[in-house]
């Protein structure tokens, strides 16, 4: 069985400072991993995905994530936060049969 844990329910950063959203996963197989973003009152948008290619994955809006098998982690980072990054972020683990969402991390960006 697969599972995903987002280690922080809420992260607050100042504009222009780095962002780190943490995600750990558990999977019996070589999983695919994703990060989705949900802006207020909007649907979920795919930020980036890892599907067993390069371990450092670059996504949209300057986000990237690194797959670390030894740590079973897939943390999301961005060098410099922008006000428009304020949103809910979901880490997702998937194999061909099942897809599991984390509980979400709410990112707040202070001016």
């Amino acid at each position: 069985a697969q599972s995903v844990t987002q280690l922080d329910s809420h992260v607050s950063v100042s504009e222009g400072t780095p962002v780190l959203l943490r995600c750990n996963y558990s999977s019996s197989y070589s999983p695919s991993l994703f990060w989705y973003v949900q802006h207020p009152n909007k649907g979920l948008q795919l930020l980036l995905k890892y599907t067993s290619a390069a371990t450092l994955v670059k996504g949209i809006n300057g986000f990237e994530a690194e797959f670390k098998k030894s740590e079973t982690s897939f943390h999301l980072t961005k060098p410099s936060a922008h006000m428009s990054d304020a949103a809910e972020y979901f880490c997702v683990v998937s194999d061909d049969n099942d897809m599991r969402f984390g509980a979400g991390t709410r990112l707040t960006v202070k001016p």
Partner: protein, 112 residues
Amino acid sequence: DTAVSQTPKYLVTQMGNDKSIKCEQNLGHDTMYWYKQDSKKFLKIMFSYNNKELIINETVPNRFSPKSPDKAHLNLHINSLELGDSAVYFCASSHRQQYGYTFGSGTRLTVV
């Protein structure tokens, strides 16, 4: 040219009513899904539908029934609506799960 579209975007209705939410995808994906997002933003799979095979989450009440007239459509019908059904419902589609889902913009259902 919307990839996954849901209608309506907002739905306010009284307890006991029956309502439907429609979903259409133009991506040629072969699997479609319904998710429920509660007030704490937690996403829960309700149904997946692939090539006429319906996989049901057993915790979903049988008042909820998905209907798929063809591969591009997966509608959600809800009978005898209850206050606890208030949530945002998302439709999604995928070619294969390992490639990720494309989500619709959601339907905010409020039962009063």
